[in-house]
Amino acid sequence: MIDALISSLSLIFSGPHFLYLLFGVAFGIVIGVLPALGGIAGFSILIPFIYGMDKVSALAMLIGMTAVIPTADTLSSVLMGIPGGSSSQATVVDGFPLTKKGQAARALSASYIASLVGGIFGALFLTAIVIIAKPLILFFGSAELFMLGILGISMVGVLSGSGMAKGILACGAGVLLSTMGTAPATGELRSTFGSFYLYDGIKIAIIGLSAFAIPEICDLLRSNAAIAQKEAGIGRGWFRGVLDVVEHKWLVLRSSVIGVIIGLLPGLGGSASNWISYGHAVQTAKDKSKFGKGDIRGVVGPEAANNANEGGGLIPTLLFGIPGSGSMAVFLGGLTLIGIQPGPNMVGKDLYLTYVCVWSLAIANVVATGAMFFISKPISRLATIPFGLMAPFMIMIIYFAAFQSTFTNNDLYTLIVLGGFCTLLKYFNWPRPAFIVGFVISDTIERYFYQTLQFNGWSFLHKPGVILLAIIILISIYFGNKKASDFQIRKKATQLKSIFSYNVQYIFLGLIYFYFLYVVIDSASLTYLGGIWPLAISASMFMFMTYIIFFNKRMLSDLIYINYSKNEGRDFLISFLWLALPIALSAVFGFLISMIVTFYAILKYKTRASFLKMNLIIIGCLSLLLGLAYSMNLSLPRGLLQSIIKLPWPFG
């Protein structure tokens, strides 16, 4: 084993392999820094080029790329409030408020160091465990995976803070949105509103963008100020961030453990590890009052976890050929292209290839951390320029990210509808993390509960792994409830600001109420196995809400946020229309034309940029867009116009 480790290391440094590794790292950083482009997009671009390449070079390049994405995608999560990928959604919750407070430098450096620790931990874990990983993976059957889902959902308590009723309802809405599409047990269509597009359900990437990016941009468009407060800028806390990690070293290590274990188990994915470690950070904190408003622990925990996740995720992929996530599925495709057969041989005659992965992972993490420190300083100044100048770029990149699911306008419609919903959640002070956790965990719970009942019957409750996990869940709930966190910015306000704000919120509640009712009716018509999960959740949510609305006036008043005023509502509507405009235009003229029009409009009305500056910004943005589209062989979403006349690429 030691021999294999050393010979793999010297293999990486021989010939051109190391250069390919560095290229992979550089490419991964670019992909990671651009919000929304994640491992899947990165692999899709690289894989056509690896055909016929040397095994070691190709492996080093691919691993180098994927290892650094969770490090690099922090940049947009922290700096702009846009999740850089689905595995850094939780980072936004506390990372972005830190930037707003002028502590971007501290948040970034803490997250890079935490990522480095997580990444190295993942590589070490991979080295040590790969030979004995098989029994470990086999230990986690459907019963244990189901219990992990329950562990995830138990985090909703701490993630909702004092607004418990709101937390439960938001989580319920998340669960039900995730049941949209094909039922895992029967293949029936559930609550798709008759839409063909919703057949595959809603993608997690779109939920992440809707929950964080859209509300933040709405906010920023409204204030039209720089992201970071002017006087504070991005701060000078680069060293402070390093100290933060040292101070919270045990949290970072525990989160790394969470990351590798969730990575190791096929079926949970990077988003779950990010959120569960975030929940863990909140639960174990003595003072929970700052979470959601810029607590550094909410950054270092999830960031260590998502890097560690990569090391863990390689194990089922290499050993069983079972990808634990979407990007690992693409990676697996790449492996077969270069003639690597995943399977037991990866710990047998091809062990050296596994250790090439280990070293690439470790080296990539080190190189990326250095590189990110180097490039973050200039890039983070972006946070200090007026938002009007940033807006075109951010809108373009978010929409580009959103249509990665099917490459049509349908993705954009989904984004704007859900984005509108989540913006209201934000304005009316509902806990969005609870909503996302519901969405992320729902499938795990439903799928594995059903499977374990079929395989083991109720006796699954006696399995040692299940009992162990049940104890962990009880402990975590106990710690979580010792002192509730407060995600809500509760100012003392005793009088209502306007009747209007109440009415709007009642309408909003009504919409949620009717959505629950719709799912009740829809799932009642399905077969038992296909409908039971959404039916159980929607019915209990519906009853809970009925109880609140008609019988418990005190809880009902808890659901209404009093600090919301009519002016805010109007401002919100206007900035939301700014976001909806490009989508409407894209429906008619296609994506490219829509972007050009939107850019001129925003720059003209929201900034005082000179004509030259406007054009430079637009040309820069569009060349980035077209460059990406070209290298990924994409056609941009088409509109009505393109269905009437044939236009050349990139217009058609």
Partner: protein, 359 residues
């Protein structure tokens, strides 16, 4: 003199342009290969294997790009392709078994018709699969079959209308008591459930089965039963070339029941085996594409299939199967999509009675 030269010149122009018009040339062009599945899936890997080879073998060496258009279980994109005009041969589609099943089961969302593509199919790529059972059931050899019939078997399935429909029909014809546990996200999931002991019956497609043979079978943790077999262009079933030692389903049936399988259930098995495995992946040009362009593609694929590089390749998406191009592909397609009505009716009734599938 001038007149003569002019005539010769015009004649020359006329003949050369005609010559070039007859000859399809894709020089400097880009061929778009639509794959209605996500990046990294089986169909995507398959297309990415063939893409560069196709580029090398088409006249003028066009650039071949793979465009993934996933969604709606591959129906959305295939519908779009079906609506394309005949065109210039610069757009092709690669389908899979899960594109054909909804067509065969007359799913109302399907707007494509495989009969339109009989003249424009240019490649057929088969695959296969084999099933195995856990020794914990008491099954060691074929002689234990009667005992196996009394055991409750558990099988991790991807869904009643997925590719796992084929094992479902096979077990049903054999009269095995199988509980299909749905919701597996791939065959790998099924194998994990089997290795954990949650399931005691499983199957894998060819390349993955070879690995099962190397490990589980060798360690005595899995007992091979039979392969699905390969449906030939004439409708008969023969042994799978990847596992020549394993009996195929019909042989196995004959061994344990001492008679040949027949009836609508067996017809349904053959029809779905054909579209799900034996002719799983196909490449089409849009309907009505000119025969010249179709011929160029068929020739290109024939050249690829016969090249030494392809034969030496150990690409597990392609396996040891004979790839079919040329006019044969038409016969295979015809065979695959024309399931007899009685077989279809049997299957629909079976699925709606036992698994509440609605049609």
């Amino acid at each position: 003199m001038f007149k003569k030269t002019a005539i010769i010149f015009l004649a020359f122009i006329y003949f050369t342009t005609n010559l070039f018009a007859a000859e399809v040339d894709f020089k400097g062009k880009t061929v778009k290969w639509m794959v209605p599945f996500a990046v990294g899936g089986g169909s995507d890997k398959w297309a990415r294997y063939y893409g560069p080879l196709l580029s090398q073998n088409l006249p003028g060496k066009p650039n071949v790009i793979i465009e993934n258009c996933p969604g709606g279980g591959s129906i959305t994109c295939t519908n779009q392709f079906a609506a394309l005009p005949a065109g210039d041969g610069l757009t092709i589609l690669g389908d899979s078994g899960s594109t054909k099943f909804p067509f065969l089961l007359e799913d109302p969302r399907v707007k494509y018709n495989y009969n339109d593509w009989l003249k424009t199919v240019v490649l057929v790529s088969p695959t296969g699969g084999s099933t195995y059972v856990s020794p914990s059931t008491g099954y060691k050899t074929t002689a234990d079959f009667q005992k196996l019939k009394t055991v409750e078997l558990k099988f991790g399935s991807q869904g009643a209308t997925s590719l796992d429909l084929i094992p479902m029909i096979a077990y049903e014809i054999l009269g095995l008591k199988v509980k299909h546990v749905f919701g597996m996200t791939g065959r790998g999931d099924g194998r994990l459930a089997f290795e954990r002991g949650d399931a005691n019956l499983d199957y894998q497609t060819s390349s993955a089965y070879l690995k099962v043979e190397e490990t589980l079978v060798k360690e005595g943790k899995a007992i091979p039963m039979f392969s699905w077999g390969i449906v030939n262009p004439d409708g008969s079933i023969s042994r799978d070339p990847t596992f020549p030692k394993l009996p195929h389903f019909a042989e196995y049936y004959e061994q344990v029941y001492k008679k040949k399988p027949s009836g609508p259930a067996f017809d349904a098995y053959k029809a779905f085996l054909g579209s799900g495995f034996s002719a799983q992946k196909m490449v089409f040009l849009p309907k009505g594409t000119s025969p010249e362009i179709v011929k160029v593609y068929r020739d290109a694929f024939t050249k690829i299939i016969n090249s030494p590089e392809h034969k030496a390749s150990d690409n597990d998406e392609i396996g040891k199967y004979l790839q079919i191009s040329g006019n044969n592909s038409e016969a295979v397609l015809k065979n695959t999509i024309n399931a007899n009505p009685a077989a279809k009716a049997w299957l629909k009734k079976y699925l709606s009675d036992n698994y509440q599938v609605k049609f």
